[in-house]
Amino acid sequence: MKDLSDDRPAAAVQPESDPMPPGTAEMKCSVLHLTVSQLDEMIAHCLRAYPEEGCGLLTGHATTGTVAKIQPTRNVAASAQVYTVDPAEHLRIDRAAEAEGNSVIGVFHSHTHTDPYPSPTDVSQAPEPSWHYVLVSLRQEVASVRSYRIIGEEVAEEPIEVH
């Protein structure tokens, strides 16, 4: 039962996917594959981080876009408006993924009061064009999750297939 004195959003999820806009061939074929528990794990981490933005990395198979692990990390910016993945944790996760035959394939973070769409800051600071960028919006009572590819300044939403 939701505690009405708790103003944090509920833990339910609405994975959303719209038809992809025209873009590069890579963007057109891009899909992110997640399990239900992985989706829940991302949202739970973002809820725990609230009122700050929560963040973490996705590790898995780069060629298929299949997430093997959700890797929550510390937001060293400790802000409700921006995030920075703890660099030391990034290094540890990168090494662990390689040891498992995987790689870091993306990042997720929350927008505490705005829509799950990459901001100009998200686009300008997107570090890797091959990555999947997952936004978890806590704006509504029900968390909203969307995934994007960001190549240069071009942003294209991709479907999330939940297994």
Binding site: E53, C55, L57, A62, A77, S79, Q81, V82, Y83, T84, V85, P87, A88, H90, L91, D94, S103, V107, H109, H111, T112, H113, T114, P118, S119, T121, D122, Q125, A126, P127, E128, P129, S130
Partner: protein, 92 residues
């Protein structure tokens, strides 16, 4: 010779290699040698003022060089230098 691990974004400038070995007794020398051997990396790691780009994190083994002597950090032949992009953004 120190080993340098490259992030995915920069590997295309190094023939697709994840890891390369280059000479250098300091981080600055390693990066300079790296950029000399792989010119496509020029300007992506060190600014024109000679500082590490703020969106690049460099580790000597397990340690962030920003908390050591930065580009003057000494590197041994059996060390591993890891380069990773800063991962940041936000709604603002």
């Amino acid at each position: 010779m120190p080993e340098v691990n490259l992030p995915n974004l920069l590997r295309s400038h190094a023939g697709g290699q994840r890891s390369v070995r280059v000479e250098g007794a300091t981080i600055a020398e390693v990066l300079e040698t790296l950029q000399g051997e792989y010119p496509g990396l020029s300007g992506q790691l060190v600014t024109s003022e000679g500082d590490l780009h703020r969106f690049v994190n460099v580790y000597l083994n397990d340690d962030d060089v920003r908390y050591m002597e930065k580009l003057d950090t000494k590197v041994q032949p059996d060390d591993t230098v890891s380069i990773l992009p800063a991962v940041a953004g936000g709604a603002q």
